[in-house]
Structure formats: structure tokens, C-alpha cells
Symmetry: C2
Subunit: 193 residues, 2 copies
Amino acid sequence: MMNTPGIGSTLAIALIHYPVYDKNRQLVATAITNLDLHDIARSSRTFGLDRYYVVTPIKPQQELAERIAHHWREGWGAEYNPKRKSALEIMTVSDNLDDALSDMTQRLGRPPKIVVTGAKGHPGSIRCEAFRELIKDGAGPFLLLFGTGWGMTEEIFARADHVLEPIRGPGEYNHLSVRSAAAIILDRLCGER
Amino acid sequence: MMNTPGIGSTLAIALIHYPVYDKNRQLVATAITNLDLHDIARSSRTFGLDRYYVVTPIKPQQELAERIAHHWREGWGAEYNPKRKSALEIMTVSDNLDDALSDMTQRLGRPPKIVVTGAKGHPGSIRCEAFRELIKDGAGPFLLLFGTGWGMTEEIFARADHVLEPIRGPGEYNHLSVRSAAAIILDRLCGER
């Protein structure tokens, strides 16, 4: 089953496990979470994205992500649940952000712009609607970054071409899981309207 | 930290572990998934919902859900992560759909209408935008049901006052996790516009 090319075809997503902050704002590499791989792959596939990069420099963590993906792509899981296979086929494990950017440049023939998401407000950030128009107008390709732990480092924000406004409900509480935040933002950018 | 009352204050969500179908359309009770509790509680809290019901008739599964909630509400987790505490405080474990409906009736003084979600199309289903208007216009309260496994049974659909249209991307693939689907639908219904 192939997706028809939508506006997501020049958009990819990256889940950043390093460099991120921990609770005490120390620089850390966070651990792979099984359901981050599945949920974000399924959301990316549903909204027609080009690729989903899982970014970690830790070798045993890379091996873990590859082992999970292998189970569903080629192992017993592929036959048990072909839809899971189809989702995890768009996942690539990368050492670092630059490797993900290079891979995307090679795939699409042009270097992507970096778009950063986060739960905190940021000066000069843009709304999802405005970013949706940029994608539609062919201003991409774009690599959309989501942080783990307590958020991506300032160095990553400094490299961003755009920062997306945080998702808000009616109140002050906005502590979504990264799986939920990614789903909502992909829907706002690529969902049927 | 309190949410200001938004349109979500007459809306609650229920995650149905029974009665649902398995892969071969057999009636089953599915297992509790730790991250379903966390993610859907955090999304519900972010979008100002009144309550999140986890529906399972299996006693050891109810105990598991309560044990996880207790850890974050009152145990070691409450101090470690107060935002998780605040999210899981809106979670209630219920034996069955009728218990969840009764609890909501008692809390809000009026019986809620049942709104069902699913990945398949259904005749007479309504769009999220239309349902958002119904909520705004005070047509509620509403209990919004999400299925696990391979979806809720026909009996549940037959009881629905409304069925929501499935979430669609640009192609045919729409196999989101229940965590992602719930996040997207709550954003469409209660998110800042």
C-alpha cells in the first residue's frame, strides 16, 4: 500500500536522543523507548512523511532500535502485522543530526532546513498554519526535530531555520509526551482539512 | 497549577479494553499498556478534560493501573515529577462503560452522550470541527471512546450518539496508535486555534 505523494513528501522527522538536557539541565543521551519507534513511525507513515530519523550516538542503543525495526520489517512481526512493517520501513537510525541531514540531502537532492519543536515558547517562533503554508509552497525540504528528556540543547535551537510554537490547550499545563506532540504537529501540518 | 475551564470541561475520554475485537474478530479484553495511561492522561490534562476513564473488567489489570497511578500520584514519583502526578490525578479505573457513564453523570449532574472513534469509516459519522461546535454550544457532556486491540465491538457503536470520522493523512495508510489518535482528536476538539 503506497501513500499518494502529499505535502509530507518533502518533510522528515527526527527524534533527538542526544544532545538533550536532563531534569537538572545536564547534557545527556536519553534511552530509546520502544513505543517512540512505533508510534512516531506510524504517525509519520499516516501523514505521508519521507523519513523518520532516530538520532543517538550510543552504539548499543542503535543496535536496540535496529533489532526492534528488524523484527517488524523482516522478522516474525512482518507477517503478523504488515502495517507495522510498512511504518517501520521509513525509520533510519542516525549517529547525529548532521548524518540525518546528509541522508535527507542525498535522498531529495537538496539540503533540508531545520525546524525545531519544544514545549516552551521561543522568540520568533512560527505557528503550525504558517509552516504548513511554507511546506505547501515548496519552501522545503524540512527536517522537523523533536527532543527527548527535558528538551534539546541551545546549540540545536541556534541551528534552527524555524522554531514551531508550542502546542497549547486551554490552560497552563502543556506536558504532552513526545509521541503525542509529534502526532498533533504532523496532523496540523499534513492532516486532511 | 489549575487549567482555566475550557471547552474540555464537559468532555471526558474513555479507553476501552473490553469489549473489543482481536485480530481475528474474536471478543477479547486487551491488556493495560503503561504508556497508554501516561500519554492519554497527559493529553487529557493538556486539553483541559474533565476525566480519563480506563475501562477493564479484569481485576488484576485494574490493580496494575491503580498501582501505576499510585506511584505517580502519591508514591516516589509524585515528588520526582509533579506534572505526571497532576496528569494521573484525572484518571479513573472503571469496570465497564456504564460505570464510567454513571461516574460522569454524578460528577457533572447530567448523563453524557457517547461519542465513538475508530480508524474505519462509518455511515453518518461527523467531522471533528462539527463536534467541536457541539461541545462549544453546550450540547454535552460527552464521553469520547477510544478502542484498543482491533477496535470496539458493534454493540458499542450501536450505543453511540455520534461517531467521529477517522483521522486521515494524504494516503490510504491510517494506522495510528491509540495514544496518537487520542492526542490528535483532543487537539482538534480543544486545541488553541
